[in-house]
Symmetry: C2
Subunit: 314 residues, 2 copies
């Protein structure tokens, strides 16, 4: 799946992933109105609204980008109906040949992580049968419990030729509270994120596809921390870096160069509300709520240009 | 909800939580057979099997213990049907007046953690209405992203009078890889779990109920690390400690004394497979698969005795 992702990045010339993180405040009124008319102001109504909203965006951008990243929390908040919309969104994106990165940030003790790995990337055994659960292509993983919480994901990645992105340095303001702590490392002192980056590199080296330069194991490093990105790019040469925090969280195109390799690969940049709620920004206000999907398309094109310029491609 | 938990611990004399973590290999044959006959060897069939299995256990133990802790991964692995069984299990346990701790280990950047907090503990806004998502009483939280990933949970806890248990020192063998790292702390060097314990204590102090000694904010510390438990008990005087790792993972009654306060409160010990799959152990084999729920009840009684003896109550 990492090789499919790379092929699609090359084809679209867009190392971009669209974050499908539908908050109700992003959903245009006409969609909410129709969904509530159909299902009432219920969890089912909310789920229908976010699904229709997602579908409009996917229809407008699927040919421009290699991948989407639905954030499961935005669906889980609506309980079971919300998670049904998560599943529909995954299935629809896969029908459009988009690579689907489930932003689930799961991680637990070994036997429990195995269940998460199976539920999101792999197949679960039921009697004599095997079934995919949610069936994403990639998922994000929280490494806080150490390697026995990550290894079940490595096993499933190797079996299914799928991938993970391990949280190394997250994009949020308080990510440094633990991740930047200087830890004793022999005689030296090293920030925790570098230690974790080193472990990701070891996991990456043992989880390589049969062909290609990049591992099934990638990392998450926020666009808001370009200096750390530069260091981590060097520590994890086999890992693709998933870069959140572009746009709404403050990351800019020029910040991104350090996350990429010299071949212009090695990173994929996420934007969520900057694309899916573009119509609520002044520069795309002309599209209005009815034109929200076209506004998303325009925002993807602008992001592609911004990143292309930063990488010296234009 | 923390005060309800404490009242129920006092009433049952059992600081015990039963981990409802149903793996298919634990489910007795007669239950699987009936579920597959009804729904086929499908995800729905698996979900029906784990629900019936849970129901039998809850019916056998609800009067003995204050709380249950379903591990969501064990349901999530079966996709949407599995999560429907998670919801049914929560609802059923609440109908038996059990305190429900959702072992979800969620945690993300601020706006995303807010969605998780709302989805598991709080109420989500849909138009003019508000709904509970999964509606647990407590949830576990992963603090790796720092305080802006935890604060949305504090807000919901205060509003709903519910609670969280923050992962501080997990029970698994590799928990030390990151959690035990010595980090620079002024002139001293302190293990990361102590730093996190200090932050939990600060969150606990700002999230107290109107009455009572314990905060809405607790911590997870594994029974497998009693020495760290002793230190953390002191660092977090306002926090209840949820102690996994008893039984199958190797923690023993005698290891538990350090997790409790002098009042015999302050900790609640989880056992999952040691109770729910008791019938598969030699000492309860006489119950057989058909008597699995009675075996669970016997295992709870033995655990109560073990902990009571360790705490000098018997």
């Amino acid at each position: 799946m990492i090789n499919k992702l790379i092929a699609k990045i090359r084809k679209t010339n867009a190392p971009i992933v669209v974050g499908l993180d539908p908050m109700m405040k992003f959903v245009p009124d006409h969609i909410k109105k129709a969904a509530f008319a159909q299902c009432g102001e219920t969890l089912e109504g909310a789920a229908e609204a976010i699904w229709q909203y997602n579908k409009g965006i996917v229809d407008a951008i699927w040919d421009l980008v290699p991948a989407v990243k639905p954030q499961i929390a935005m669906y889980e908040q609506f309980g079971l109906p919300g998670l049904a919309a998560f599943q529909k969104t995954i299935d629809y994106c896969k029908s459009k040949d988009l690579v689907v990165i489930g932003d689930v940030k799961r991680g637990d003790i070994g036997s429990t992580s195995e269940a998460y790995a199976v539920g999101h990337l792999g197949q679960v055994q039921v009697g004599s049968q095997r079934y995919y659960g949610f069936g994403e292509d990639f998922s994000t993983v929280n490494p806080y419990l150490g390697s026995d919480g990550v290894k079940p994901f490595l096993k499933v990645c190797a079996e299914e030729k799928k991938g993970i992105f391990v949280l190394v340095k997250t994009s949020n303001p308080s990510s440094g509270e633990f991740q930047d702590r200087l830890v004793k490392n022999g005689a030296a002192e090293t920030p925790l994120y570098e230690i974790i980056g080193g472990m990701v590199n070891a996991w990456a080296e043992e989880t390589m596809p049969e062909q290609g330069d990049y591992s099934y194991v990638g990392a998450v490093v926020g666009a808001t921390y370009p200096e750390q990105g530069r260091i981590l790019r060097r520590i994890m040469p086999k890992s693709f870096i998933l870069v959140p925090g572009y746009g709404a969280q403050g990351g800019k195109g020029a910040d991104l160069v350090h996350f990429f390799d010299q071949d212009g690969l090695g990173a994929i940049v996420n934007s969520s509300r900057g694309i899916i709620a573009a119509y609520q920004q002044e520069q795309y206000a002309r599209f209005g709520g009815e034109g929200y999907a076209d506004a998303s398309r325009a925002a993807v094109l602008a992001m592609r240009e911004d990143i292309g310029a930063a990488l010296g491609r234009l």
